[in-house]
């Protein structure tokens, strides 16, 4: 019998995710222009985060459980003959001393490449999947907070009028709460005490990032009730905020009985579920909303959509670059950025980038990072004029920009530092950047520097500006201006050397002569 080949218009993709609480795998069938269908799904509970919390490493028992589980999952991928797959370990596992050993052993024993997925990218992938959800897109047209509680932290992302406003990551994950529970769990009012503590944390977010304005709805990813209680059949995806809070409280109440095995069998909660419930309770009490939507997506859908978008199988319904830019603007504005200058710089940088496209060898992602760097290049000024570079670096590195990985944030931060303090030799940054990233930083910095010099006075002196690359060694920048350009021209010569060092192109600043002027 002839073997049937799957059409070019269909791909099989699989994702494996080693999370804090277990390993999961999904196999997807992706049809060009069509939808994504799950054709297999496996999940194994392994409490890795507890191991890490207790001993700082993955226990031997769980180590081999992970290896064996991954082998089974790898076999499943082979069985389906998937076109591509990704296997990721969640970033929180980096806290385990023996994670690299695990990755190595998984490679040797299972022939599986396990990578660590950066926390921000993890969230970004989830967000990508979420953007396929019409209800979510509808909800973010109004003020809406996206909530994701993980083992090591809570991420809250505020949307307003369809735009991403702010993402903040608070380091109060379920594992921390679980540890607190162990410390005070014997007290009769432990739930109340912990709730107050968590409430305060959420209060800070509310005041700092939400400008005191309550959201209308909450969107929850990684359905907590489904994961932690046996009652996961027929759970409503959309519920009234008050009802949902009541339900969480009821589950929490039941968790007390669970210890004695007397809980209502329908809604018994696993011990590890309590921290999740406490966190959700605190969030919902501080941010009382009209609607709660439990989005039926996971990390896997995010990875699958990322694969589908990048292989042009499915068109993204949303411009994710827009989200990154809008979050960058929100961050810049928090630190009193001068909008006009930043916009000018962003525009000039992009024009410059596009003008030398044939020579810089950078992709569209680098173009996005350049835009973010332009918008955030001087955020540190808000904190300190004398230590601007350091403050800018710190702010960028520690702010969560949905859709930008921590590696990318580092690249942006260093480009901004170089802009303030000049280029550092590689040895000085080798701990943070590898050679490729270092060179990317230098390229971004060179563009940013030249663009910045054009608007050195922050007064947008020109009416029009043109960039023309001659195809060999010169880039002509022609400005249509009547103002004096003495300052810019003098600095420009110095900056053009830096630019030449990186691209072997000399930028030449020219002024368009206007009749009657000198």
């Amino acid at each position: 019998m002839a073997t049937i080949k799957q059409g070019k218009n269909m791909k099989l993709y699989a994702s494996i995710h080693v999370g804090s609480y277990g390993i999961s795998m999904k196999v997807f069938e992706i049809k060009r222009g069509g939808g994504i269908k799950i054709i297999d799904s496996k999940r194994k509970r392994i409490e890795i985060s507890r191991d890490i919390y207790e001993s700082g490493r993955i226990s031997t028992e769980n180590f081999f459980e992970i290896v064996n589980t991954l082998r089974d999952m790898k076999n499943t991928l082979v069985m389906y003959g998937v076109d591509s797959y990704d296997a990721y370990a969640t970033a929180s596992l980096e806290a385990a001393d023996n994670l690299l050993t695990l990755i190595d052993q998984v490679k040797i024993l299972d022939d599986l490449e396990l990578e660590i997925l950066d926390y921000s990218m993890q969230k970004y992938r989830l967000y990508m999947a979420l953007c396929q959800d019409e209800r979510f897109l509808e909800m973010i047209e109004d003020r809406c907070v996206l909530v994701d509680i993980g083992g090591v932290g809570v991420q809250l992302t505020l949307f307003d009028k369809g735009k991403l406003v702010a993402t903040q990551h608070a380091k109060i994950g379920a594992t921390d709460v679980w540890e607190d529970l162990r410390l005070i769990g014997q007290k009769s009012d432990y739930i109340e005490v912990l709730s107050q503590l968590l409430y305060k944390e959420i209060e800070t977010y509310y005041t700092m990032y939400m400008g005191g304005k309550l959201p209308k709805s909450l969107v929850i990813i990684n359905n907590p009730i489904g994961q932690i209680s046996a009652d996961n059949q027929g759970a409503e995806e959309l519920s009234n905020g008050r009802d949902y809070l009541k339900r969480i409280k009821r589950l929490l109440k039941n968790s007390a009985y669970d210890v004695n095995g007397e809980g209502d069998e329908d809604i018994s909660v696993s011990k590890l579920g309590v921290p999740f419930l406490l966190l959700y309770q605190s969030i919902m009490e501080r941010l009382p909303v009209e609607e709660v939507y439990i989005a039926p997506i996971s990390m896997h859908e995010g990875l699958a959509y990322n694969y589908a978008y990048s292989h042009k199988l499915i068109k993204s319904p949303r411009d994710f670059e827009d989200d990154v830019i809008s979050a960058s603007w929100a961050l810049a504005m928090r630190y009193d950025g001068r909008e006009k200058h930043l916009k000018t710089l962003e525009g000039l940088s992009v024009q410059l980038f596009d003008a030398i496209k044939k020579r810089h060898g950078l992709n569209s992602r680098a173009r996005l990072l350049l835009r973010v760097a332009a918008i955030l290049h001087d955020v540190g000024k808000y904190i300190s004029l004398s230590d601007e570079a350091n403050c800018t670096y710190t702010i960028i590195k520690s702010s969560h920009l949905l859709g930008v990985s921590s590696r990318e944030r580092k690249i942006i931060a260093w480009a901004c530092v170089f802009r303030q303090e000049g280029v550092y030799p590689y040895e000085n940054v080798a701990e943070e950047l590898d050679r490729d990233d270092y060179f990317l930083v230098r390229k971004l910095h060179a563009i940013l520097d030249v663009a910045g010099t054009i608007d050195l006075s922050h007064r947008q002196k020109y009416k029009k500006i043109g960039f023309r690359y001659n195809g060999t060694d010169s880039l002509f920048i022609t400005m249509d201006t009547q103002d004096s350009m003495v300052l810019e021209s003098s600095i420009f010569r110095k900056k053009s050397e830096v630019f030449f060092d990186v691209f072997a192109i000399t930028p030449i600043l020219r002024r368009k002569r206007i009749a009657g002027s000198d």
Binding site: M1, T3, I4, K31, S41, K42, R43, V78, M79, G226
Partner: protein, 722 residues
């Protein structure tokens, strides 16, 4: 209103004994050919053996452990044992009356003679018997005498033995001492009747007979003096012991389940003796020796007025050349949708296919796996196996698939009672051929019958699923009535994948699209379906439940049925075996009717119907309404939604409910009765299904008997255009 009072429930053991009585009734049914009656008699005996080994043994364990909690009918273990003993003694009597007064003389009328005793042999026959003994029997016998230096030997479970008293002037058994401690004259000896030789031996014919038989133990008894040459045989009688076979397997402690079961099998022969069957004429001295040494109470001694272990009747029932003394053997027909040689996947693509065995052949199920094994586009085959036949074609196909590089996952349930040893062999064979074998789940028996084939097709991955009510056993599929469904429903396919992921320990299903899976979910779903009918009845709507199963003894489900009945739901139950529900209790179960069909085929399918205010729902599956199925086994109940498949199941239920030939009906006094058929048109469900299956095959495929031939003309032939 209370629905859980003990008087509303029948004891499950007594209900089972009633079921065995219904089978015995078949052996007593004059209208049935004699060899079929012999088979039914043998079935009652083999059933009884299992009942003792499992149920009686378990009750004995309870009594030994001091457990006194009453069952749902209010009887504690001791009371149950007492009632069982009374009933089974009576049953034994009836079995032997059936044999002696009915069957043996019926056989004789057909010129088939079974000699009672070696005393009835004529000279020629006696010579033959002695020669037979010398040539075949003597070499394999191990006679064992008991005295001071030779302790009482181990009598192996379920073996037939001969106990003898030997006169001995010099030596005496320590077991046969008188009050003064002096040896008596007689010696006790025992010899096992070899199980490797035929139990029924054909000998030269008595005059006027076509075949004459004698029991093997009679041949040995006749020649006992040859075994004990220095003794006189005072008397000799056969006996048989039954030991406790209900072995608890401590799975939590067993690091390797397989080894644990192998170990337990070795232990089985050492179990406590729970029944001693003896010849009713056995010398009282022999009875005493046996009772004392085997530690058997008087109640546990069963006197047999004829050959012990009536399973010997199976061999007579299958006697060659006597088909006229048997119901004509039914040959399963092809399902009209699955002609032989068809591509089964193409057919399933056209729509769900429902198979009704044994009326329809089981071959498509074997073909499903066989074709999958040979199909290059098949990526994986996953299947559960509970009891498979010897030399199973399914096992062969699975092994072949694994050898050709397909991913084959098989769950072989090692804990299938009495099949453990058999299953270990197959499991090992499958593993050697490269299958991924799961040896069951800790704490649960995997009883569901499901096979999944994952196939790569042009428009994506497709899943073909077979779900059944019976085992993947091509032999029993010819005698058990079961249903199976082939489907490529995406929703069921997703569920099937989830089931196998769950069985391999890699999934915690968050939702089921269509399947009810036990444990955890199935019980709740049944509650929901029953309660929905109750609610509809309360609202004045028509409400009806029809359920067919092998056994009904789950108190919580019965309670719900009572509640439904009390609310006005019309309930019809077709329960082959145990039924702990009582009918006609005023205000409790007035609306419940129970029937039980005992016929040529063993009723085995489980079908559940709910009227649902006109939106009828039909389910089938592997589970009975028993606590073990709901709580301690992995079971699957699946909906039948395809219009034609559903219509077929509804028809099956309709015919089963109309049966007035083979169906018994449960009366308010707990007894079963058959309708008086005089002057009425009779309808036997099994016979009806046989007829219908034959009629469903297009004429040209039936065995050709017509004398006119129909030519095929050119204009009727489609010639493919090149």
């Amino acid at each position: 209103m209370k629905f859980d009072l003990p008087q509303y429930y029948e004891n499950r053991e007594l209900s089972w004994l009633k079921f065995n009585r219904r089978i015995l009734n078949e052996a007593r049914d004059n209208k049935l050919p004699v060899l079929n009656r012999m088979k039914f008699l043998a079935i009652t005996a083999s059933n009884m053996d299992e009942f003792f080994m499992v149920r009686v043994a378990s009750l004995k364990d309870m009594v030994n452990a001091g457990y006194t909690k009453p069952d749902m009918s209010g009887m504690n273990p001791k009371e149950q044992l007492l009632a069982i003993s009374k009933e089974t003694h009576d049953f034994y009597e009836k079995q032997y009356t059936t044999l002696n007064r009915g069957l043996i003389s019926k056989l004789k009328n057909e010129k088939l003679l079974l000699l009672d005793s070696y005393n009835q042999l004529d000279e020629k026959q006696a010579d033959f018997v002695d020669r037979y003994f010398e040539e075949y029997v003597y070499p394999v016998l191990t006679p064992m005498a008991v005295d001071a230096s030779r302790p009482f030997p181990l009598i192996v479970n379920k073996t037939l033995n001969i106990a003898a008293l030997l006169s001995n002037k010099k030596r005496g058994s320590r077991l046969l001492k008188d009050k003064k401690g002096e040896s008596k004259k007689d010696v006790f000896a025992t010899v096992q009747v070899p199980s490797g030789l035929p139990r029924v031996v054909e000998i030269p014919n008595s005059s006027g007979m076509e075949h004459t038989f004698i029991m093997l133990e009679q041949i040995i008894e006749k020649n006992l003096s040859v075994l004990f040459k220095n003794y006189d045989v005072v008397c000799a009688y056969p006996y048989r012991v039954m030991r406790n076979a209900d072995l608890p397997i401590d799975e939590d402690d067993a690091s390797d389940l397989l080894k644990e079961i192998e170990k337990q099998l070795k232990k089985r022969r050492w179990g406590e003796v729970i029944r001693l069957e003896i010849d009713d004429k056995m010398d009282s001295r022999l009875v005493k020796v046996l009772q004392k040494n085997l530690e058997v109470e008087k109640d546990a001694v069963y006197k047999c007025n004829g050959p012990i272990d009536l399973t010997f009747a199976f061999s007579l029932a299958s006697l060659e050349g006597y088909d006229h003394l048997r119901v004509e053997e039914y040959k399963p027909c092809d399902n009209p949708k699955l002609k032989s040689g068809c591509n089964i996947f193409d057919e399933i693509k056209k729509g769900d296919i429902l198979l009704h065995h044994p009326y329809e052949s089981f071959e498509p199920v074997v073909d499903f796996i066989r074709q999958a094994a040979e199909d290059d586009n098949v990526l994986a085959i996953k299947q559960t196996l509970y009891r498979v036949s010897g030399n199973s074609p399914i096992i062969a196909a699975l092994a072949k698939a694994a050898e050709s590089g397909k991913q084959v996952t098989v769950l072989v349930e090692l804990k299938a009672r009495f099949d453990e040893e058999h299953n270990i062999v197959w499991a090992k064979r499958l593993e050697q051929s490269g299958c991924h074998v799961i040896y069951g789940l800790v704490g649960l028996k995997t009883h569901c019958k499901i096979a999944l084939v994952v196939r790569r097709e042009e428009d994506g991955i497709k899943r073909y699923v077979h779900l059944g009510t019976g085992n993947y056993n091509d032999s029993t599929a010819k005698i058990y009535t079961d249903c199976g469904l082939f489907t490529m429903s995406e929703l069921i396919g997703e569920d099937a994948t989830a089931v196998f992921n769950m069985l391999s320990g890699y999934s915690e299903p968050e939702k089921w699209n269509k399947l009810f899976v036990a444990p955890i979910w199935a019980r709740k779903q049944f509650y929901r379906l029953i309660d929905r009918e109750t609610q509809n009845a309360k609202e004045g709507k028509t409400a009806r439940i029809i359920a067919k199963m092998n056994s009904l003894c789950d108190q919580k489900l019965i309670e719900r049925l009572y509640r439904a009945s009390a609310s006005g739901v019309e309930i019809f139950l077709i329960v082959r075996g145990i039924c702990c529900l009582k009918t006609d209790i005023p205000g409790i179960s007035d609306n419940i009717h129970v029937s039980s069909i005992v016929g040529e085929f063993l009723e085995h399918s489980r079908i559940f119907y709910f009227y649902n205010d006109g939106e009828e729902e039909v389910y089938m599956g592997s589970a009975d309404w028993m606590p073990r199925n709901m709580d301690r086994r992995v079971e699957i109940i699946f909906p039948v939604e395809d219009v034609s498949a559903k219509a077929k199941v509804l028809h099956i239920l309709k015919v089963l409910m109309k049966d007035n030939l083979k169906a018994y009906y449960l009366k308010e006094d707990g007894q079963y009765f058959r309708y008086d058929k005089r002057g009425k048109k009779t309808l036997g469900a099994q016979a009806t299904f046989c007829d219908e299956a034959v009629k469903a095959i297009p004429d040209q495929e039936k065995n050709y008997t017509a004398k006119t031939f129909i030519p095929i003309w050119g204009e009727n032939v489609d010639i493919p255009i090149q």
